[in-house]
């Protein structure tokens, strides 16, 4: 007898998140970036604990120090690679081709496999430090195998002008999913890649319109009027693809052979959060920048009028004034930088995560009670490569 599916609550609210994001990013700036390992850990603890399948929060058990150490390991590897490889590439590019563009292009291409490698390792670390109901998640090793597959799939997708994107999405997701564990239970990705075609709908139509418009500009300049809406449509179509491929893939995932998932996130909702959230942030920061600029101008005018030139001369002329203005400018730059991040958490990252969480259900949850613990994955380098290469997980 199937029981009711397990629903996922999202228990986070904006106020505490903004306080946490503000405190951690101020410390990050004040420590010249070292605190970012702590900042990331603390924000993840918060986000994880807000996601509550069946009322039991997820737990993020990663430690800041292991991230810092992983970063150090990765930096040494990459410093060697980038230092020596860049040098050799620049040398060959100049001695054979007499130009440096090729060298930078090659050294970028040389980093691409590392980038995929880093993404897989980062996901493994993230899962190894995620717990629910006291049980660890995990992912099997396989980062290089993943990196080569990802390169191959990207090549095929690019050669097919993006038409084979579903094939790439499916096979890479299957590679990751089939190596993912919850406790001693394995997750499996079923289905076939063609099932993702319907999710491509808007991306294809927007892309076709853009291509058509571009071709038409060769005949008539006015065709730009088709290109712009076409590109916007394609961009929205990309969000639609991500949301709907997530739905389809989730419906074909099985844990321990019988536990299923029902994901119903809505593309319109996600798109609205992205657009309105970023618009709100832009408006808030715009108002702040304008207000500060106007106030500063007024303050200068008032000071100049009150104190008069003798006062400034006594202060040592323009030198002090320039110094103070520059210092204020630097502080203001960091304030904007910090606020942008904080508002991004509150109005984009959190609402998107909440929407994905609240529209996901776990089917046949009674089978969960059979699942047992898995051993701890020590994983010395944590997500160092991802951190060093700035692979940029959402959180």
């Amino acid at each position: 007898m199937p029981l009711r599916p397990l629903e996922i609550e999202f228990a986070g609210t904006r106020g505490p998140l903004m306080r946490l994001a503000l405190a951690t990013s101020v410390k990050t700036v004040l420590t010249l970036g070292i605190y970012r390992f702590w900042a990331k850990t603390r924000l993840r603890r918060w986000y994880w604990s807000a996601v509550r399948p069946g009322g039991v929060p997820l737990e993020y058990a990663g430690e800041p120090l292991e991230k810092l150490m992983g970063f150090l390991i990765a930096v040494v590897f990459l410093a060697f690679y980038i230092g020596v490889v860049n040098l050799v590439l620049v040398f060959f590019s100049f001695s054979l081709l007499a130009d440096n563009g090729t060298a930078y292009a090659l050294s970028f291409v040389g980093l691409v496999p590392f980038w995929f490698y880093a993404r897989y390792r980062a996901r493994r670390y993230l899962l190894a430090r995620t717990r629910w109901r006291g049980l660890r998640f995990g992912q099997e090793p396989g980062a290089w195998a993943y990196a080569w597959r990802a390169l191959g799939h990207w090549a095929v997708t690019l050669l097919s002008l993006g038409l084979l994107l579903p094939r790439q999405t499916f096979w890479l997701e299957k590679f990751r999913t089939d190596r993912t564990w919850y406790g001693a239970a394995r997750l499996e990705q079923g289905g076939r890649w063609q099932m993702l075609w319907p999710a491509m709908r808007h991306l294809l139509m927007g892309g076709a319109l853009t291509a058509l418009g571009l071709a038409a500009t060769l005949v008539a300049k006015m065709a730009w009027l088709i290109v712009v809406p076409g590109a916007v449509w394609a961009l929205a179509g990309l969000v639609y693809y991500r949301v709907h491929s997530f739905r389809i893939l989730a419906a074909h995932k099985r844990l321990a052979g019988g536990i299923g998932f029902n994901a119903q996130p809505r593309a319109g909702r996600v798109l609205r959060i992205y657009i309105l959230g970023n618009l709100l942030i832009a408006i808030l920061l715009g108002v702040l920048i304008t207000a500060v600029t106007v106030l500063a101008a007024l303050a200068f005018a008032a000071l100049g009028g009150l104190a008069g030139p003798e006062f400034w001369a006594a202060l040592g002329g323009g030198g002090i004034l320039t110094g103070v203005t520059t210092a204020a400018g630097v502080v203001f730059y960091f304030v904007i930088f910090i606020l942008w991040g904080v508002l991004g958490h509150a109005f984009v990252t959190m609402p998107v995560l909440a929407h994905y969480a609240e529209t996901l259900e776990i089917e046949n949850p009674h089978r969960l009670a059979e699942v047992t613990q898995r051993p701890r994955d020590a994983f010395a380098e944590a997500e160092g490569f991802a951190e060093a290469l700035d692979v940029g997980a959402a959180i």
Binding site: L17, S95, V371
Partner: protein, 380 residues
């Protein structure tokens, strides 16, 4: 050890219910909580799940998970790596239990982690230093000698256009001064100096329209003088001396070496400074410092080369000294002139060396008076 003050006959009892996760199975168990006052090793929390044995956590080991979103209540664990958890949603019970626990701070990293971190940080810093200061320069020096002249020329052309764009105040790159008579005078002086040098490729000397008192060599035989330097010189011999110094760099292929080193080390620095805001500014400054560090020996060698070249061309090496002395009077030693001379050996040492170098066997002016006037007007 905390001291509990008992009021009345019996201790105030603590009793509550919480969701217990045993860290073994994916099972939420509604467990009864109570405090054992006389457990061995101090008071302890007793957790009694509906089935199975009860569990005892010493109160001194109980920790609260930090940075948790929303409420209600708290999530408790034990110090160390035990994955078992208690979710205590009753705020009142949570407060009463918290009051009994001596140390609720988050679980701390295992012993020795800070020490290991220190060792690793030192090791990582050391390795990166070795890569930037030993490995990359060593490799760059080797490769620079293997670089074919056409390749080096291309490297120099690319660098020159980058520099012209970086120094320009407007959108157009910094102008090259091309007055025909001035360029002819310059070429005559260059030809006289180059006659005494064995160079891998022809020299290409140009004047850039910029007020900086500076000159530098680029890969592939480019030598660049700034107009500011020509204005600062009082006689043509002084310009000739600076030129001879830069030709010394060309002869040693220093610019190619530095360009290759920069290509290697700039990527590493970008990696280290990472995604942190405003990294690129720091990047440029740091890169500058590194170069200053490793060109000092090359500068002294170029000075020595210049002394020989000047003597053979019948010009006084101490003109280099005279130029430096005036620069020092105007700007001070090793301060002021940050732009270029920061990476050079101390001016006082160089003046002394130029004066020790002796004089040419037979002197001949570097330029005639007419040539000198034409040269000074090269940017007009």
């Amino acid at each position: 050890m905390s001291v509990t003050i008992h009021v009345g006959a019996a201790a105030p009892g603590f009793a509550a219910f919480a969701d217990y996760l045993d860290g073994e199975r994916s099972l939420v168990q509604r467990a009864a909580l109570s405090i054992l006052e006389d457990a061995p090793g101090g008071a302890a929390l007793r957790i009694e799940p509906p089935a199975g044995e009860s569990v005892v956590w010493p109160l001194a080991d109980v920790r609260v998970l930090p940075d948790q979103a929303g409420g209600p209540g708290i999530v408790l664990g034990r110090d160390g790596r035990d994955p078992a958890r208690l979710i205590l949603r009753d705020e009142d019970a949570a407060a009463r239990l918290a009051a009994r626990c001596p140390d609720l701070r988050p679980p701390r990293p295992g012993p020795g982690l800070w020490r290991r971190l220190g060792l690793m940080a030192a090791g990582a810093a050391g390795s990166v230093m070795v890569i930037i200061f030993v490995l990359v320069p060593l490799l760059a020096n080797q490769l620079a000698t293997l670089l074919p002249p056409e390749g080096e020329k291309a490297l120099g052309d690319a660098t020159l256009s980058q520099i012209r764009e970086a120094l320009s105040q407007s959108r157009a790159p910094l102008a090259v001064c091309e007055d025909a008579d001035g360029q002819a005078a310059l070429d005559a002086m260059v030809a006289r100096l180059a006659a005494g040098a064995d160079l891998p490729y022809p020299l290409q000397v140009q004047v850039l329209d910029h007020g900086m008192v500076n000159a530098f060599a680029l890969p592939g035989g480019h030598v660049i003088l700034f107009e500011g330097l020509i204005d600062a010189a009082e006689e043509p011999e002084e310009v000739a001396a600076v030129l001879a110094h830069e030709i010394g760099h060309v002869a040693a292929r220093d610019p190619a070496r530095i360009a290759l080193r920069t290509a290697g080390s700039i990527g590493v620095l970008g990696l280290l400074l990472g995604d942190f805001a405003g990294g690129s500014v720091v990047l440029l400054l740091t890169e500058r410092l590194i170069q200053a560090n490793y060109t000092r020996a090359a500068e002294t060698a170029a000075d020595d080369f210049a002394h020989g070249l000047l003597k053979r061309a019948g010009m006084p090496p101490e003109a280099l000294g005279a130029m430096f002395r005036r620069l020092r009077e105007k700007h001070g030693d090793a301060k002021g002139l940050v732009a270029h001379f920061a990476s050079h050996p101390r001016l006082a040492d160089r003046i002394a060396a130029a004066e020790r170098a002796g004089d040419a066997a037979a002197r001949e002016p570097a330029l005639t008076e007419a040539q000198w006037q034409a040269f000074r007007g090269i940017c007009d």
